[in-house]
Symmetry: none
Subunit: 208 residues, 4 copies
DNA sequence: TATGAATGAGGTTTCATTCAT
DNA sequence: TATGAATGAAACCTCATTCAT
């Protein structure tokens, strides 16, 4: 490995460290309450260093959010390609959400906050476009599966986009909700069971 | 009516005007981006006056949120007392949400934001307690209805609290979701149909 | 005088105080080295207060500069309207410069710095337009007088705009120069004589 | 040539490269707006390297300015030694200014900015002394020529220092002025004619 | 009670300078 | 000698809150 390559890799590593620190602090405090100094301190760097890797606070936050959205989209698209039944795919969607929540619960929270109106208003047009694009991919995948279910006569005969919205939004709502309950009650272990119950109910509701 | 009473009433009236202004601004901008000056201007008052009625920005915001929570709780409790079947009650819950969203969509958005972890972390213990209390009432009402459904053998045999969580969280998630789509796409009219579809699916999923 | 009027006047007064403080500090340190805190301190105000009267540092500085430019333009235009000979008008121009320098030497220094390329680059289009407009008025007045001189066969037969440029630029250069000598040598009293000599030479050079 | 000598020469060469880059950037942006990183990038070096050759940003800038001043002084002194009439010497002064402006217009601009009060205030005592010394040489040369003119009865009978000041300051003012007009109007070609007209006027004004 | 000018703490961001490699 | 990532001090600016009127 050449010296240039090594440096490049170190730089990437540093960027990841900053993103990790930022994810932690943003998740704990939210965009406005989090401070760059706190993120720097969490990353064991000085404030100025953050600006070598990200143009400003907003870009740091958005990079984080888009990264999250990409990750989820990838996982969902993988499910669609699998050679399994429609019902199993819906179950895999559930597993994707639960896996991602397990891996880093902040990921999902952050994503769903991004998609709430309040946050959307402060983003640049260009970033909004990226989010729309990636969201469209994820939802497109879900819609495809639901459409298959309707065509096969398994699911109720509604507009597939509306059904996909319900599916996605319910997941999102449940994740936000159980997370806030976790915070309020300092309990941690009822998230997964609740998610499973939720999915079961919604999947069942989708069927004819 | 004595002069003291009249003064008291005027004071209450002024407080309501401030809350109305604050609700508008907080809903448009979010807690951090909204400024006290903006709220004062919306209420056609000076910034200083706000502090005669509310200790600080946080208290103003929280008063608002609790008021919203109370309103929803009231409506839900009214449903529970009605002499109708379990299934009809679930349908009424849906109508309550839709009515409240119709009356002021920001009310619901605000409430669900309040219940997301981000906002919760910045509240005082005392306020958290109030929120917990009122939430408990609303959820208790929903849980009761679901428990009845289970006892009557109509609903699936799961823990009623989990089912209530799913119900509530799905509603919340769907409201946030459709609201963000509304903001992104400048469309307004698909909120109610989507909500109805969502309720239909979830209610159906609850049944045996 | 009504209470509103009095408040308005106080506000104007405060604005003038800030401009005075700013003029002092900017003249001492230059735009970049001067700090808002220093200006605030000079005005016996807190930093935040400055922003109640001026949008930002740049606007404060530019307000100052345009004020200066306006003042000079006014004085020059008054000379043009007087019923005196061309040669006397040129002499009056000299007196205007000397008077303004006498009244507040920083005024002229600031103005000529504004017109140096370095400063111009950092201004907004709108402000540049204002400067161009006011400059055009002042130069227009000077050009008119010179044109009269040429028409009357008193001045050399060159393009009046070029002659006006020379006149103006020489004044500016001499003011900057003697001011820097004043700073370097801590002498004060050779400014006015030098200015007079300069004007005499240039006026003489203009003549046939 | 020994290895030590060669190294020394390389070092000098590198220093000149840095000065060239710095001249370009300072001229474009001014002292405060220019950044060391930009200068380094222009010189195709890393920021750290600049500090091997110059103690800090200030010293880099001042070295540049003094170099410029030296250059102009050299040219002017050469004129003084020539075996030509007083009037021709004054004309040569004009040519020196025009040549230097032609060679690198930024040189003159930079020099005259250095001599404006704003810049002077931020310099160390030692550097000020150097500037004073070199300025004195240039002005001394000009004063000598003017004194000759007075002694020969060609020039008006004023204090030669004042006349030299007028000459120098007018040159400086005109260069700054036409340069700012060039920037404002994106015209390039009226500098030299204006300078020539200016010199003609001032030279004529100097004569009896 | 109502005002609104003033405050000043605290946040984001820049950039001259350093130092380990 | 050369690098360039990292530093951290210091600047601009905002806005919740106060207080004299």
């Amino acid at each position: 490995m050449g010296i240039h390559e090594r440096k490049q890799r170190e730089k990437e590593q540093r960027k990841i460290e900053i993103l990790n620190a930022a994810r932690k602090v943003f998740s704990n405090k939210g965009f406005n309450t989090a401070t760059m100094e706190e993120i720097a301190s969490e990353a064991e760097l000085s404030p100025g260093t953050l600006y070598l890797y990200f143009k400003n606070k907003e870009e740091l936050h958005t990079t984080l959010s888009i990264e999250i959205l990409k990750h989820l989209t990838d996982q969902i698209q993988k499910v669609v390609c699998q050679d399994i039944s429609v019902e199993e795919k819906i179950e895999r969607f559930r597993d994707v959400f639960i896996d991602v929540y397990d891996y880093d619960s902040n990921i999902l929270i952050n994503l769903f906050h991004l998609q709430s109106g309040e946050t959307l208003k402060n983003l640049s047009e260009e970033v909004l476009k990226q989010i729309k694009t990636h969201s469209a991919l994820a939802h497109g995948a879900i819609i495809d599966v639901i459409r298959q279910g309707i065509e096969q006569g398994i699911f109720i005969d509604e507009h597939p986009v509306a059904l996909a919205d319900v599916l996605w939004a319910s997941y999102a709502g449940i994740v936000l909700w159980v997370d806030s309950k976790r915070l309020l009650n300092d309990q941690k272990d009822f998230v997964k069971p609740t998610l499973k119950t939720a999915f079961k109910i919604i999947s069942k509701g989708l069927k004819k």
